[in-house]
Symmetry: D2
Subunit: 332 residues, 4 copies
C-alpha cells in the first residue's frame, strides 16, 4: 500500500500518517518526490484499512500494491490447474478445449435425450441443461427443478456424457451432488457469497460464471471464496459483460479471458451463447474464444429452437453446431 | 410486439410469420411501410417468445410494445404507494423524505448504541446497521450475524428508532422477522430470485436496492417478484451504478430515480454513501437526491470512522451529518 | 511512479529496473514488502514512459502517483477561478449559479428572439443557441451556420443577454470571435485537440463540455490543453455520461461534478437537458445539479417544442421553465 | 415508427395523434392491443421527428422501425464491398485478411524504414505510422507532422508497402492526399463531422475507426457520412470499447464486428493493439479477430519498444510478430 500525500502536506502531516501506520504494527518507507511525498506501507496490510488513513490531514489517495486474491493467483501456484470432471473430462493445461453443449432448459425427458444424442455425435464432451432457471421476470418459466435435474442425469448416462447444471441456492445442494457431475454458479449468483461458501465445502468441480458486470478482480475473488473454503476444482467461465453497446446482448470479453490466463492458474472457458444472445453470431464468438485460448466452450443447442421454452433466440441447431465444429477443428 | 421484416422479405415470408403468430392464438395487423413490412401482434404476448419468430425467414427484429412488469407500474396503480414501517415511519406520497442513518456494520453494543443516539438527535427517523455483510473478499470481516441483529434491535428500541438490516439468505428469515422492522435486499442480491420469493411471502416492508448494473427494467422486475408473491410494501433504493468512470466508486443515477417516480407508484430513496464511496462528496449527493425528489436517504454514519471495521472511507461523522441536515432543511 | 515487481522477481531483476530508471536521470527508492518489492521513482517522470519499464523481466505493473494534469488542479491554484463573460456574467467562486437558456438550434430570427425574451424574463443570464450542429446522421438538419450565429448575436443584443454557441472547427473561429461572448466546445469535440489548441490562443471564455464517455482525468486534460495554450477562462460542463442504462439518454454524473469541485479550481456547470434527453425529468436533474453545487446550468428551452427542428424531445417550454425557476430559488 | 400509447389513453388522444401525424403528410395504422393502442406511422419518416409527437397527451413512447443509416446497409447493397488500396491491397469479400503493421508513431527515417522492412518480411501487406498524434495530455509528444508523413511514404516506397496514417484535421488534407495511400480517421474523431465530410469528397480509401464508446449505429452513421458525400471506399475498424472493466485498456468488441458483417457490406478489420493496451495479450486478440471473421488487422510493431516515444507498452517486437504470424496462418 502506498499513501500519496497532497503536494501541500506539511512535515507534521507526514509524521502523523507514519505514526498511525506504525500504530497498526506496520513499517513505512517515506519517499520524497519532486512534487509530493509518498509513504510505502510495509507488512501485513490486512492490519490496515484504507479508511483508517484516507481521512488524515494531507492524505490525497491510497494506491494498492498487492491484489486482494491469493490462492487463485499464478504467483501462488505457477502451474496450470487441471480440473477433472467425472474422472474423464479434463479442463485446462495442455488438454484440448472441452465443448459442453445442451439445451438452455431441460424441458422434457425426450427433448434432453434427443439433444444429448445429437451433441454427443457432433463432438461435445459434456452435457449442459438448466433445471432451476434464474429468470428476470417472475412470469417466465422457471424450470422443472429437481425433476429436471434427474432427466438431465438420465440423458447424460444414456449417451455417456457428464452433466453440468446451475445451482441457485445451497438449499438444493444435496440434489445437485447426487445428480450432476459439475456444479454451475450462474452470473447473477457470482457474488452470492453464501452459495460460494456452500460449494467450497463439497467434493465436486464448480463452473463459475463471471457476473455480467463483475471486474476481473471480483471474478477472481469469487473463485477465491471457493478455493479458500477448500475446493480447488474451479473452472472459470467468461460469458459476456454489460456495456453501453446493446445491439447484441452482452459483449464477450476476450481481453479478460486472455489476461486471466496469465494471472491465474485456473482453467477458463467461454459461453458464446449468452454473450451473443442471438444465434447468428454464436459461431463467430465461439471460434474467437478458441483462438484466444479458451479451455473450452459452453454452447446452447436445441433440437427445435423455435419451440424452446427459454432462450430459443440464441440456441444453435444440430445443423449449425455441425458446421461450427467443422470450422473449429483447426483450433481444438 | 412488432415484428419488423427485412426490406427484401417476400409476401410468402410475411404470410408465414402471420401464420406462425396465429398458430399461437394471437392476431396480427400487417403494416406496409415505404421500405418494409411490420407486423403488429395483438393479444396476450406471453403466448409468444421472441425466439419463436426471430428465426423465420425475412424477419429482421422484434420490438417490444409492452413492458414485462405489471404490478409495480403506474399503469397498474396510478396513486403513490405509501410504505409504513413499524406503524410510524412513512415512505412515499406526500410524506417528507425519511433519513435512515447508522453504521455500515454493527461492531459492538456500545458502538451501535452511541451511533443510534447520535443520529436520532440529528433527525434520523430510522437506524441502519449491517449484521451479515456481503464482502467481495473472503478475507474481509463478514459481520456479527444474528448477534449483530440483536444489538441493532436493542439500540433501536433504546433510542426509539425502527431498524433495517440486510438479509443475504432466506435461511435467516426468521431471525430477521424477529429483530428488524424492515428487510433490506442488497445490490448484489437484487436478482437472487429465491430470496425475492422468500420476502414476498412475509408481512414486513422490504428495502430493495438496485443492483449496481441493473437496468431500470430489471430493477422493477425484481420488485415485481415481491409484489407478485403478495408483499406490496416495497421501497426502492438507487445506490449508484457501475460505469467506465471510476474516480468515485459508482455513479448515482438520478436520471433513473426521476424516471422511476414517473413510471412506478413505489417509493424510491437514495443511498449517497455507497454511490460515493468517499465521505467528502456524500453530502453533495445526498442534497442532489433530495432535490431530485427522493423519498428518503440511507446514509452511513460512524462515531469513529478511522477505526471502522468496514467502509470507514465513506461514513459521515456526527459533525458532518449535522452540517448536512442543516443544508438539507429546505429540501425536506 | 511506483514500479511493482512480481513476487518471484529476483534481486538481479530489481537491480536491472533500478539501472534503467537511473539511466533516464531519475532516482529510486526500493521498498521490500512482505510479498514483493516495489520501486518508487523520484524525479521528473516525464523522462520515463510506462512502456520503458513495463517489459523488463520481473515487472508486474506500474502505479501512477501524480496526475498528468497540472494547471487545472487545485494543487496548482488553490482559489476558485471566476470566469467572467461579457464583463458581466460571472461563473464560479461565491457567485450565484448562472442559468443559460435557449433553443437547441437557432431556427429563425423570430424564433431565437422570442425565446431570448422569454428566458430573460424568467431569470436566465445568458442565451444559448446552436448554429453549427453536430448531428449523428448526415441526413439531419445541420444548422444555419454563420447566419445562425448572427441571428443569435442580434437576439442577445436586443434583450441584453451574452450569448454562447458551439464551435465545431477552428476554420470558423473568426466568425465566432465576432458573434459570440463564449465559445462552446461540444461533447463530441472534447478531444478534438486541434480545436482545443485553437481556442487556447484567443481571448474569449470557453465552455468545455465533457465527452459522453470521457473520464474525469481526460476531461481535466482537455481543459489543460486550453490553459496550457494561454487561455485560463474555462468553464467546465457535466452533461451526462454513456452507461449500460439507456432508459434515459445519458446519466448525469454528479459524483464527478462534486469531485471536480474539490480537485480543480475551474467553475463547473451542468446540462440537464442533454443528460435527460426527455423534458419531463429535466427539472429534477437541474435542481439536483444546483443542490450538488453546480456553478450554473445550461438548459434547452423552446417556444414551440413540438415543431422544433432539433431536440424538441428535451426542451422545456416557457411554462415549465417558469415552474423550474420557482423551485430553484432556494438553491440559487 | 410506432407510437405506443399509455394504457389510459382515451380515444380522443389517439385521434389527436393520428391527426398530427397526418398533418405531416404521413399515414397511420392504428392497432388495438389487449392493454394499449399502438399507432404505426407509414411514409417517409424524415418528415416527422420524435419530438413532434412524444409530448402529445397519452403518448408513452416511440419505437423506431427503420435504422437511420442507408447506404452502408446490406439492405441497400447486398454484396460485400471490396476496398482496394494502391491498386493492390484488397479488403473485404473473399480476399484473405490484410495485415497492416508498423509503429505507433513515425519517430525517425531510420526507425520507420527498419520497421517497414521487418514487417514486410513477416507478411504485412501495408505499413502504418502516426505523424499527427492525438494525445490525451498536452505535454505528450504530438508527432512529427508533415515531416513524419513524408518519412512514412518514403519507407513504404522503399519496401513496397502502401501506407496509412491518421488525419486529425481537414486542414492537412492535401498533404495526406500526396503522401498516404489510405486515410485513417481515429477513434476520437469518429464524430468529427467536418472531417468526415472532407474525406467524403476525395478519391482515397478511408480507414474509419470506431469511437471507443460509439454504438454500432453511430459507427455506421459515421461511415454513412462518407458514403453520402460520395466516397464509398471505406474500411471499418473495431478497436475496443470503453467499459467498466479496466484491467486492460479497452475491450475488443467482436460481437459488434460479427454483427456488422451481417448488416453492412463494408469490410471491417480489428485493431488488437489499441484494444489490448498491453503487448502480452495482443496476439490472443489478433487471432480471435481473425477467427471471428475480421477482414484484416492493424497491429503496432516496434523495433525497440522499450525506447518507443509512444505506446511502447502495446507494441509487438519483430520476434512476437513472427510467432503471431505463424499461429495466424490457419486463419488467413
Amino acid at each position: 500500500m502506498i499513501i500519496v500525500m497532497q503536494n501541500t502536506a506539511t512535515r507534521e502531516m507526514v509524521d502523523e500518517v507514519v505514526k498511525v501506520v506504525k500504530g497498526h504494527g506496520l513499517n513505512t518507507e517515506v519517499m520524497h518526490g519532486t512534487t509530493r511525498v509518498a509513504i510505502g506501507v510495509l507488512g501485513d496490510k490486512t492490519q490496515l484499512e484504507e479508511g483508517n488513513v484516507i481521512r488524515l490531514p494531507g492524505v490525497k489517495e491510497i494506491l494498492a500494491v498487492s491484489k486482494p486474491y491469493k490462492k487463485v493467483s499464478r504467483e501462488y501456484k505457477i502451474d496450470d490447474t487441471v480440473v477433472t470432471v467425472a474422472n474423464s473430462v479434463k479442463f485446462g493445461g495442455k488438454n484440448p478445449p472441452v465443448i459442453i453443449a445442451g439445451p438452455c432448459t431441460v424441458e422434457s425427458r425426450e427433448q434432453v435425450l434427443e439433444i444429448a444424442r445429437g451433441v454427443k455425435k457432433l463432438g461435445a464432451k459434456m452435457l449442459r441443461g438448466g433445471a432451476f432457471k434464474p429468470r428476470t421476470s417472475p412470469y417466465a418459466f422457471q424450470g422443472h427443478g429437481v425433476e429436471g435435474l434427474k432427466m438431465l442425469k438420465k440423458a447424460g448416462q444414456e449417451v455417456g456424457l457428464p452433466v453440468v447444471s446451475e445451482i441457485m441456492s445451497a438449499e438444493y445442494l444435496d440434489e445437485f451432488m447426487e445428480n450432476v457431475d459439475m456444479l454451475q454458479i450462474g452470473a447473477r449468483n457470482m457474488q452470492n457469497f453464501d452459495l460460494l461458501k456452500a460449494v467450497s465445502k463439497v467434493k465436486k468441480p464448480v463452473l463459475l460464471k463471471r457476473g455480467m458486470s463483475a471486474t476481473v478482480e471480483e471474478f477472481l475473488l469469487a473463485a477465491e471464496y471457493i478455493l479458500a473454503g477448500g475446493n480447488d476444482q474451479v473452472v472459470l467461465c467468461e460469458r459476456g459483460i454489460r456495456t453501453f453497446e446493446q445491439s447484441t446482448r452482452n459483449i464477450l470479453d476476450l481481453n479478460s479471458l486472455a489476461l486471466i490466463k496469465e494471472i491465474s492458474h485456473l482453467p477458463i472457458i467461454a459461453d458464446p451463447s449468452h454473450a451473443a444472445g442471438r444465434y447468428d453470431i454464436v459461431p463467430a464468438l465461439g471460434l474467437a474464444s478458441l483462438a484466444a485460448g479458451a479451455h473450452g466452450l459452453i454452447i446452447e443447442v436445441h433440437n427445435n429452437p423455435c419451440e424452446a421454452l427459454c432462450d430459443g433466440k440464441q440456441s444453435l441447431t444440430f445443423y449449425t453446431l455441425e458446421a461450427f465444429m467443422e470450422k473449429a477443428k483447426p483450433l481444438i
